[in-house]
């Protein structure tokens, strides 16, 4: 039971942290519940499909189908997060100003919500397919299924509770800080995903450059420990990053900053126009 609890807890928490950040980012957007539910629902459906075709996905592209799928999912999420941050840089301030002017926010709010719903969906898909496969294994084996299912359910509850705790912490921040904190969190989240995508492309044999390890901090902060895992999901911490991963991480942060800077409305330009 403990094994099931730990695995399910871990996967739910990893997806839950991302959902939590997205929910905090969209706290004041009307209709966000609808979009988040759509993302979670789509993610679960996608996870079931991925689990169902696990064998065929794995065999595709000379045995690299799974890695390529993961890299694609992560890449798509990075693009969506970049889009969201750029959008928020442009419209965030006016939205905060007219928070109560619901009419405008509804139409404007739809656009980043689709992007974020996709991010939620992809996160749930990635972690969920593992849970589905794991639970399927339990059912197939048939041994003490009840206790394992209890473990699974407890894992879901625990993961969701911890994610909810982080969400509450985020939204409890003073309103004027929430926006910048979440922007930074999303940038780090995207950078971590980009670095992870590089690892999958490397594992797929698609790229074979800059594979040298930059550092090894596994003895001080192992990535498979609780803190290491949390940091891995949130800010992309890796205890043995390759040069390519580090490059992807920094490049994503720079691209994010540049995009946000370009998108941000400047008073001078606004006055000229």
């Amino acid at each position: 039971m403990l094994g099931a609890l730990i695995i399910v807890f871990r996967e739910v928490l990893e997806a839950g942290l991302i959902v939590g950040i997205v929910m905090a980012a969209t706290k004041d957007l009307p209709g966000r519940g609808h979009w988040i539910m759509l993302g979670v629902g789509g993610g679960i459906a996608g996870a079931a499909v991925v689990a169902l075709f696990a064998e065929r996905i794995s065999e595709a592209f000379e045995g690299s189908g799974q890695e390529l799928l993961n890299a694609t999912v992560l890449g798509a999420a990075v693009v969506m997060l970049m889009w969201h941050n750029a959008w928020m840089a442009r419209h965030g301030r006016e939205m905060a100003a007219e928070m109560k002017a619901v009419g405008r926010a509804v139409t404007d709010g739809t656009r980043p919500m689709t992007a974020l719903a996709v991010v939620v969906g992809l996160a749930v898909l990635r972690e969920g397919s593992e849970i589905v496969l794991f639970l399927y294994g339990i059912v197939a084996t048939g041994t003490s299924a009840v206790s394992l299912f209890t473990g699974g359910l407890l894992g879901i509850a625990g993961g969701a509770a911890l994610s909810a705790l982080m969400y509450c912490g985020l939204v409890a921040l003073p309103t004027r800080h929430v926006f910048s904190v979440i922007t930074v969190l999303i940038a780090l989240l995207a950078a971590g995903m980009a670095a992870q995508a590089m690892q999958y492309l490397d594992a797929a044999g698609l790229i074979d450059v800059l594979g040298q390890r930059v550092w090894d901090s596994s003895r001080y902060l192992p990535q498979d420990g609780i803190v290491g895992r949390l940091l891995h999901t949130l800010v992309g911490y890796t205890d043995r990053p390759t040069e390519l991963q580090l490059l992807a991480y920094v490049a994503t942060l720079l691209a994010m900053a540049l995009l946000t800077w370009i998108a941000a409305p400047r008073p001078a330009r606004a006055a000229a126009v």
Binding site: G63, S64, Q66, L133, G137, A203
Partner: protein, 108 residues
């Protein structure tokens, strides 16, 4: 004149043999256990390991130190590309059955 040629031929044979052996690295999962549990692998270069899952249930072939996470469906085979590794010992495990599925690769 035949000496160096023969030596070269032997060398080529040895090299090919070595390459073929490196390509044939495989681990089989049976009853949630790895077979073999200890695998000698080359260091400082990339190599491929075939993971054959003989169990009807899926397994995740995972290693923290080698950065591998690969789900292998029941009764199927997965290809895992690894390395280059520094010489040393690298543990791997089946994430869905950690109690029994444990193994180690020795890079040399």
């Amino acid at each position: 004149m035949m000496g160096p040629a023969a030596a070269l031929a032997v060398l080529a044979l040895v090299a090919c043999g070595g390459a073929a052996r490196a390509q044939d690295l495989a681990v089989t999962i049976k009853d949630h256990k790895f077979q073999p549990t200890e695998l000698r692998v080359p260091s400082k270069k990339r190599f491929t390991v075939y993971v054959i899952n003989d169990d009807p249930t899926p397994e995740e072939f995972e290693s923290t130190s080698m950065k591998i996470e690969k789900i292998i469906a029941g009764k199927s085979k997965g290809v895992v590309r690894i390395g280059p590794l520094d010489p040393g010992r690298y543990e791997f495990f089946g994430d869905f059955n950690q109690a029994t599925a444990q193994g180690i690769m020795i890079a040399e």
